[in-house]
Amino acid sequence: MTLSLPALVFPASVYETQPEFLARAFSGPPPEPGILWLSGERKSAVRQILGHDYAALRLRYWCQDGRSAWVLEEIGKELPITVGIITEKNYISSLRVLTYRENRGGEVVAAAFTDQFNTAALTDNNGLDVRIDGISGATLSVQALTRLAAMALFLHAESGCSDGA
């Protein structure tokens, strides 16, 4: 006798592709991507924000006129959630779930939830300066998005994009 594990595999829901996200982030064609390596103190700071190392050693980002766009991933419960985050000056101007793969907690893709991150900035201890209301049954996904929001703000400052770089 065998159990039917394939029934546990849920298809990923794509809400916005990366090209669509970049088109929304920048008026006109997106700028050339830049690279940010996660090493040394930067890696330690990201580890402090996420509670673990990020799943990659380098990140590409897009920066134009002080606005930066990031496509980041973080595991909610078992599978990575892909999130597109736009930051400018020192705050988040948009956070949207691009791809959601978990079978529970999908309520975090709703704009009513993600709009809470708009205008969020980083505190001195790398947290968010706004309170994000949780969603019952989606606690791990909410926490994952909150961590990514803080990470994007930290990376935005690290990239020098806010200085017009």
């Binding site: 065998t2 990366q18 090209p19 419960k77």
Partner: protein, 253 residues
């Protein structure tokens, strides 16, 4: 000395005792598995992969049907089912395998819908979704005569810059290209990948959930658990009946 004759237990009491004793082990089992499931995340049970081969067999988790391996110097990149392996270590879940090349100190593995960059120790450097470059799936990956990474997707040919950041579409000059081709890995590596691949499909939390619900024993297990749940319901009712009866008898004395 006068011995008071012991009154025989009622049928309800006898049934309550017998079923209660029989259900005790089941209740303890449900309590323990329930507690573990409630704290599975904190205990890391959802990240603990099962390696016990009998259990993996029971779940029907077989070794991968297709194993594509690419030797890159001392390292091997392998695609086993939906898993990418660096030597015998699982790196990431991928969608098919097109090939792997080594360039500039990086290993570049191509699945059908993304490129995965690994450092020489197998750590994931970056995942590049191919849809951001071309909607067609990746078919092949290789190197040009100048050691630039080249990818064929659909009928198009794409060449990367040195940082693998920007891609330009090129004319098909396949005669000057070295396409990655799978090679047979050593038996020991193939067996190690097979063991690791099977374990990736099952974590301890899944097993506990199936034990707790009876699904690990299939449809019959669920029915048996239903029966045991009814027994527990009977015990609750018979316990109440016995309690009320003993209260009433106590008052009447």
């Amino acid at each position: 000395m006068v011995h008071k004759k012991k009154k025989p237990a009622s049928a309800t009491r006898r049934l309550h005792r017998t079923l209660g004793a029989a259900a005790a082990l089941f209740v303890l089992f449900m309590v323990l598995t329930g507690l573990a499931i409630n704290h599975a995340n904190g205990l890391g049970l959802d990240r603990q992969q099962v390696t016990f081969s009998t259990l993996l067999d029971w779940y029907g988790l077989d070794e991968p049907e297709n194993l594509l391996s690419f030797g890159l110097g001392d390292a091997w990149i392998s695609f086993a089912g939906s898993q990418l392996f660096f030597n015998e270590h699982p790196v990431a879940t991928v969608n098919g395998g097109a090939g792997a090349v080594s360039v500039g100190g990086l290993l570049v593995a191509a699945s059908s819908d993304e490129l995965l960059l690994l450092d020489p120790d197998g750590a994931l450097v970056e995942r590049l979704p191919w849809a951001s470059i071309d909607p067609q799936p990746i078919r092949m990956i290789g190197l040009t005569s100048e050691n630039a990474v080249v990818v064929r997707s659909g009928g198009r040919l794409w060449t990367a810059d040195a940082d693998l950041l920007n891609w330009r579409q090129d004319a098909d000059t396949s005669s000057n290209l070295r396409w990655a081709a799978p090679q047979p890995a050593a038996d020991a590596l193939q067996q190690a990948i097979g063991r690791a691949y099977r374990g990736q499909g099952l974590n301890l939390e899944r097993v506990l959930l199936d034990l707790h619900s009876g699904r690990i024993f299939g449809p019959v297990g669920v029915l048996v658990y239903d029966l045991l749940a009814l027994v527990l319901g009977f015990l609750a009712i018979s316990g109440l009946v016995l309690w009320f009866r003993s209260r009433r008898n106590g008052k009447s004395k």
